[in-house]
């Protein structure tokens, strides 16, 4: 089953290229959906059912938000760039991408191989999770018990961003 990972990630890469290069913003957003839903299947293959459930819900919501925004504004990407600017941008983009890939390939020397992770902190969670928290789902035990402050911070960030969206988009009080 793990052998299906590489074609799926390849599909995600194809979706990413199409999403960025198409001239129609609506098609681009639908192609973004390819990446998100393929990621759901990848999470299932990687034995992470909680992640798959959350990802499929969040992906649907994100697509709805993006499609609503694009339909409200414009679906055409009719921006043609100037010749000189284009060259500078391409060079800058290539340099950044090349530097990033080079640095990450260097970093891979220090990561353990795929399929055999280093379990340092997780060893404690795996052996004491059930007796310590009473939750059989260890992911729930971690986010709601061992690292509950992280989840509190997450709720704070989510609330702040929703408050930001309401403040930016409301019609009342605009001059």
């Amino acid at each position: 089953m793990v052998s299906a990972l590489i074609p799926l990630i390849g599909l995600m890469i194809c979706g990413a290229v199409i999403a960025l290069e198409t001239k129609d913003l609506l098609s681009g957003i639908i192609s973004l959906g390819i990446i998100g839903f393929a990621l759901t299947i990848v999470f299932l293959i990687l034995q992470a059912p909680d992640l798959a459930i959350v990802q499929i819900i969040i992906e649907t919501l994100t697509l709805i938000i993006l499609i609503a925004a694009v339909l409200k504004t414009t679906i055409k990407d009719s921006i043609e760039s100037l010749k000189a600017r284009k060259v500078i941008l391409w060079v800058a983009g290539l340099v950044c991408v090349a530097a990033f890939i080079f640095a990450s390939l260097k970093a891979f020397a220090d990561i353990s191989a795929f399929g055999s992770p280093v379990l340092r902190m997780a060893e404690y969670y795996l052996s004491n999770g059930v007796t310590g928290t009473g939750a059989v789902n260890l992911v729930a035990a971690i986010i709601l018990d061992f690292r509950a402050y992280d989840t509190l911070g997450e709720a704070t960030v989510l609330f702040t961003s929703v408050a930001g969206v309401v403040a930016v988009l409301r019609k009342k009080g605009r001059t």
């Binding site: 960025l20 990621l39 504004t73 921006i79 990033f100 990561i111 795929f114 992280d150 988009l169």
Partner: protein, 111 residues
């Protein structure tokens, strides 16, 4: 190892989109591709060959995948929705004011 490299390639495509594209919606799409790539990479790091999902069945001795990256990615996915909603609302507001998604035109119209 090839899985890690493909995740990095996905991240690099998103980085290219953020740097080179001039349309605000395309820049948001690039940021989201980067977010997906990071989530994918963290989930890949936690995988153990032959591991079961980290849900304990009492009385069984099983090998589990690493639950810690999964918990972190769960948080990151939800925060990703919040940041995306905020970015999109900024983009819609900018379009209402300047009638374009082009970042260079928006910069010229400032003031």
């Amino acid at each position: 190892m090839i899985e890690y490299i493909l995740a990095v390639v996905l991240f690099a495509i998103g980085l290219y989109g953020v740097i080179v594209k001039r349309n605000l919606i395309k820049i948001i799409i690039g940021l989201m591709i980067m977010e997906y790539a990071v989530n994918l990479f963290l989930a890949l790091i936690g995988y153990r060959s032959g591991g079961a999902p980290p849900i304990v069945e009492v009385g069984k001795n099983q090998i589990f995948v690493d639950p810690l990256p999964q918990a972190l990615v769960l948080t990151a996915i939800v925060i990703g929705l919040g940041t995306t909603a905020l970015l999109v609302s900024f983009a819609v507001r900018i379009f209402e004011k300047y009638d374009t998604f082009d970042v260079h035109k928006i910069r010229k119209l400032r003031g």
